[in-house]
Subunit: 150 residues, 6 copies
């Protein structure tokens, strides 16, 4: 028997963004996004919680080496998003089709990390795979979004 | 396809209360609730986490406008509970049949917000409804109660 | 030479209170204290920071044994204030001459702890005395009061 | 009908440990655990979240008296782990077969508390039993492990 | 006798900015500010601690009505900085002579609040004036700047 | 005129230690340090606040480049203390003359950083020097020690 473990790594990144949807008129954008629609943008210290799950490796006593997880989050996410303007520096949000809400940010991070974890699992040629379980982002101390790949 | 998103809004309210059940004798109340049964009550800064879930609206990139959610929590919960004595000022707890434990407080808040969200869904005439997923209250930094409508 | 050290112990207590001053009319009380004047009171998880200062004892490497400081705060403050109604259960605030604001609460705690520390210093017959340096209370996550005996 | 409630109690313990597996050579241990393999160990303030679940008792308005839960966690966990060296003072980890990772620490705490809760349920001769739902440990502010008995 | 009280109000604002000094060449700007010089800016949830000091009003038991302090911070600071781009939306930083570092942000906020407090003191025609004691800003969880008007 | 700025950088390190003084007998050690005297040690996540002060550089808008301060703390403190046993791995505490209390840890860190800052000031050949203002360590969430070089 092997126990199912959930491992969460928490990282922070500081980024600017502006909420503005090409699906709305300028007036509708102001109406819907309010101060988040401010022309020159605003910013946050985003607190990112990445949770993976899978069976415990009885020899190491670990689900996954936290050093590997840190490295993966840094390469895939922090290096691209930290100290950037989401709408100007990140291709996924640049064309304006996808609004840089925390909801869409969660989904974007999920997609990148899920792919990276698959590559990691294949490289390690492990019998059981480590799965991405949850992406949670605290945009502020009062607003949090969670995505579980559903 | 539409992704399922969980959105959490965190609010705080400061209230007094006393744990005292009409189902017990005075001696039993002291025995069961200890210092929480103090005649004149005590109080807390309650930290309330309201989590809703539902499908992402691809146009706005949001599950629900956080401004609407804030407003709803303020009207339904904060205005009634903040800077109040739960057992004296809130009708639900006033007759003494329902003890103002954090457990019952979660259930009370669930009931009010579920109803308010239903009204919100109907008013918006949306195809998919936003559901209340979880009410979590930190009574102190060490005690937390969660209710998910089960 | 002996270094000057500042040692802070943090404790929490949960209490109810109502802001109401005998120096004002009822209408003035409502005007000045607003929702804090609610007839049946409200409450908080008060976070208390007690800071003492003095010369390091080179043998123990400590300013004061934290166990002694904890014990002193418990006996003098926590046992009297925790799970109580400040205006009903604490004599200092009961006669209504002194309003149970966080400002006055700081001063009250200062007075009690300063006296207790003097007794502690005398009992230990120490050459140098440990002094009370600062009482800080977080009433909520957004409001903090500090008193330094000035 | 009785509502399902989740009750979480948070406690902290400070312990030393060293990550070193008998299943690896010394070189492999260095490679896998890095600085966590430091010969003389290191330490943490572990923040433990114990969550139980079950039906609300309508008379008391509680799932379980928090005083009982505190007492149970203290007796079973804190007294054994706080201010200890996990690998030297705790039998479960002493023989070196089980590495004192946070993953294994979660599982160990689950086993002890599940057993203690069963005894508690039997002693109370309750119709419905309180179940252990989740053990979550924050090893640092950035690393968290969760175990749900799966 | 009147006790000296320190009262701190904590508020948060989310803003974008870019560190770029007109006193340096573009290459020097990259060298000095690194990723903070990113062309399109980045952002933070700034946590602002405003501390005022003065003598306690014995009648109200307060240094200053926290409602007045909140209102003053909102009008002077939050309304101008929250959900804005500091370098584009705030005149003080717009001409590029003053870099929008947290250090300069502290000084800017000090200047505005000191002036507003003076007006407040005059309006109240109080015998003793409330003074601005300290502006502290947490730019991230790891970087904090304090200015005390020295 | 140049404003005086206080800049704080917060870093964390995880270490094991045991409180045991050569100035006391074994029995006295148990009596004085209690569970902190546990033979095999225990450990903490120490949260270190390093505050420097000095005049603002008007060109950069900074007191000191935070990157330099980070680097200095890493080289001098984190690399030596993180994931170590203070009494076994750190020479200052190894001979047992100086007990590894948080008080002494503050003084040790002060000495190392003050020296390093002097070197930094000389290397930069600056007209005004950056001074170490305060070392603060949170040993746990409830115990904090501060040293200001007095």
């Amino acid at each position: 028997m092997s126990e199912i473990i959930y491992l969460t790594r928490i990282e922070t990144f500081s980024a600017a963004h502006r909420l503005h949807s090409v699906h709305y008129s300028d007036d509708e954008n102001v109406l819907i996004y309010g101060k988040c629609n401010n022309k020159y943008g605003h910013g946050h210290n985003y607190v990112l919680h990445v949770t993976i799950s899978g069976k415990l490796d009885y020899r190491s006593g670990m689900l996954m080496n936290i050093t590997d997880l840190k490295s993966l989050i840094k390469t895939e996410i922090i290096d691209e998003l930290d100290h950037k303007h989401l709408d100007m520096d990140v291709e996924y949000f640049r064309n304006g089709q996808i609004v840089s809400t925390t909801e869409n940010l969660c989904i974007y991070i999920w997609k990148k990390l899920e792919k990276a974890l698959n590559t990691f699992n294949n490289d390690k040629n492990q019998n059981q795979s480590i799965k991405l379980y949850e992406i949670k982002i605290h945009e502020t101390d009062k607003n949090t979004v969670t995505y579980r790949g559903e």
